[in-house]
């Protein structure tokens, strides 16, 4: 019996907890004669318990279930540790890496690459998107070129990138930037173009023009679309980073996993994968927070805010 089994039995039908949560006192004081009623009451209490815990528990239910079955499969010998180590071993590897301090070096290196790549690529995408979105001339001149380049997978440039930049940091920065550039560029361009023409007309007739028109009407109108691009780009950063770091590196999460593979340390490989997942989730939450902050006016975000 693993520790997860006992945990499950704790979550389930503890009537006293359920009673406290449900708040109605008509439960477990029952006699033997009212057994059916009692079971029904307990079931309804589980329902109440689930309802009470759902907001924070529900998103984690499936991952938890997967980990439990994984642990069980490993313990009963269905899974060889060379294919997939048990979760406990992964935790142990994580702990060891933390104690030795090695993990921090890798995470720091990867984070720096992700952030700088995102800033360079995203910043360029934003600037060019604003440019082509605002000026027809810029669109005529640049858009066709950019659309052609967009259709080249960033990773197909890998051989050239290695030739151009060698295998050091600039190569990784380039790869991440190129990949991040296009979602931000496209969504910025689209956002600017899809700003309500009626609003622009109104603003002009109310005396707004130039920068004030841009600041008060066009930019805020394009913001929801720009943020979609940013969120998409943040997801892409990690994908590109994995590839960039597995080619050649002296540090970074990708380097750590590649290195571990050489020595068949599947647990360390898994630690690396989980780190990517966590950092990805972190980036997503961050961009969501930015969205909620800057799109408070948007009806779609207000509803969530009021309940949450």
């Amino acid at each position: 019996m693993g520790p997860f089994i006992t945990e499950i039995s704790e979550v389930a039908p503890d009537p006293s907890v359920a009673e406290r949560l449900s708040g109605d006192g008509r439960t477990s004081s029952s006699s033997v004669s009212a057994l059916g009623e009692d079971i029904a009451a307990i079931l309804s209490n589980i329902g109440t318990l689930l309802r009470h815990t759902t907001p924070w528990f529900a998103p984690w239910a499936v991952p938890l279930l997967l980990i439990v079955s994984w642990q069980l499969a490993a313990q009963f010998g269905y899974l060889s540790s060379r294919i997939l180590p048990e979760p406990l071993a992964v935790l142990k590897a994580f702990w060891n890496l933390t104690v030795s301090g090695e993990i921090f070096i890798h995470v720091k290196t990867s984070l720096w690459r992700a952030i700088s790549g995102f800033l360079v690529g995203g910043g360029l995408g934003l600037m060019l998107g604003l440019l082509t979105g605002t000026f027809r001339t810029a669109e005529t001149l640049l858009d066709t070129t950019l659309q052609m380049v967009r259709n080249i997978p960033a990773l197909a440039l890998l051989p050239l990138v290695i030739l151009w930049f060698g295998i050091d940091e600039s190569a990784k920065l380039f790869l991440v930037s190129v990949g991040v550039f296009f979602p931000v560029y496209l969504n910025t361009f689209h956002g600017i173009r899809s700003v309500d023409k009626g609003l622009i007309e109104m603003a002009r007739s109310y005396g707004l023009s130039g920068w004030s028109l841009y600041r008060d009407v066009i930019l805020p109108g394009a913001l929801p679309s720009i943020l979609v691009g940013v969120r998409f780009a943040l997801g892409l950063v990690w994908v590109l980073l994995i590839v960039a770091e597995t080619i050649s590196a002296q540090a970074g999460i990708g380097y750590m996993t590649m290195n571990a593979r050489e020595f068949l340390q599947t647990d360390v490989v898994l630690v690396g994968i989980l780190l990517y997942a966590l950092l990805g989730k972190l980036a997503d939450s961050l961009s969501r927070a930015v969205e909620y902050r800057s799109l408070r006016w948007h009806p779609g975000y207000q509803r969530r805010n009021r309940h949450g």
Partner: protein
């Protein structure tokens, strides 16, 4: 709905009180109409001669002539596609005429002003066109120059005029349709326009809210004395608000009728109903007992002589 009704009574009460007050800018609030006073009018004079406008080979306005006196409230009616909205867009400077002259004059610029920017013209659109990312207050002070503290005070005072002072900090998306149009009205009035153009601003509102908005617009017009041009397809609304009802057909003014009913106008009034019926029949090209000849354009004035038996028509 209950909320709207509650608002309507408070609006009327509030405006009644406000009518006696001085404006926040230090300028005189117009109590009653200024149009009768020579030289002191704040409204724009409009002169249109042989105005033409075409869209892709379709001629929307053919040689349109129209004179609107300062401070006058003119309603423009007509079937959809007759060119009434085009006329408004030309007046607003959102589009340019192909031929003819368009002159707007007000007390700030007595000489004719060919371009409309900063001419004191403000538009209220069919949809409120509030910026969803700005609060109600910031929407109202859109385009207002000056330091933020000062403009905030003016915006608050203007919002109070449309009885929305307590909603200043909210986002437009949670307001009702009528409230949004009231914010749009406040946004237009804050610039103290000499010409207010209304492009079917009440078309999308329910009947009760519409009546409430009509009386609000009437009150503020009486208070401030600007020239108002209202484009509408609602004949009743046109008669309820306007000094003159103008019918546009086939790109020309085909009916120009003075409405001499006392304000505020009761919709149940017999003269009101008679006039409404007459105009409706005219719009629908029904043969009217009062209107034997099909009068076009400038003949409208002479045709009006046939209305003499009726007390309400000049």
């Amino acid at each position: 709905m209950a909320e709207t009704l509650a608002n309507s009574s408070s609006t009327v009460a509030r405006i009644a009180a406000l009518r006696k007050e001085l404006d926040d800018d230090g300028e005189l609030t117009v109590n009653g109409r200024l149009t009768t006073e020579p030289g002191g009018s704040v409204g724009t004079t409009i002169d249109l001669r042989h105005l033409q406008k075409s869209y892709a080979s379709r001629q929307v306005l053919k040689s349109l002539n129209l004179h609107i006196a300062p401070g006058e409230f003119v309603a423009v009616i007509g079937r959809s596609g007759c060119g009434k909205s085009t006329l408004l867009r030309l007046l607003a400077g959102l589009e340019r005429a192909d031929a003819g002259t368009l002159q707007l004059r007000n007390h700030q610029s007595p000489a004719a002003i060919p371009t409309i920017q900063d001419s004191g013209t403000r538009v209220m659109f069919q949809d409120a066109r509030l910026l969803p990312w700005k609060t109600v207050l910031d929407n109202v002070r859109l385009g207002l120059e000056g330091n933020r503290h000062h403009t905030k005070k003016i915006a608050e005072a203007t919002l109070a005029k449309v009885a929305l002072a307590d909603r200043a900090a909210e986002w437009p998306s949670i307001l009702s349709g009528g409230q949004r149009q009231r914010v749009a009205l406040a946004r237009a009035l804050i610039h103290q326009p000499s010409l207010l153009l209304l492009d079917e601003p009440l078309g999308a509102l329910d009947a009760l809210t519409r009546i409430e908005m009509q009386s609000l617009i009437e009150q503020l017009w009486l208070e401030q004395g600007f020239t108002a041009v209202l484009v509408t397809h609602d004949v009743q609304e046109a008669i309820a608000l306007a000094d003159r009802v103008i019918l546009i057909e086939e790109g020309q003014v085909s009916l120009d009728l003075k409405v001499n009913l006392p304000r505020p106008r009761a919709r149940g009034d017999a003269h009101f109903a008679e006039l409404e019926d007459h105009i409706l029949k005219r719009v629908l090209r029904h043969p009217s007992t009062l209107d034997n000849s099909d009068v076009e354009g400038t003949d409208a004035q002479s045709r009006l002589a046939t209305f003499n038996p009726l007390a309400w028509a000049v």
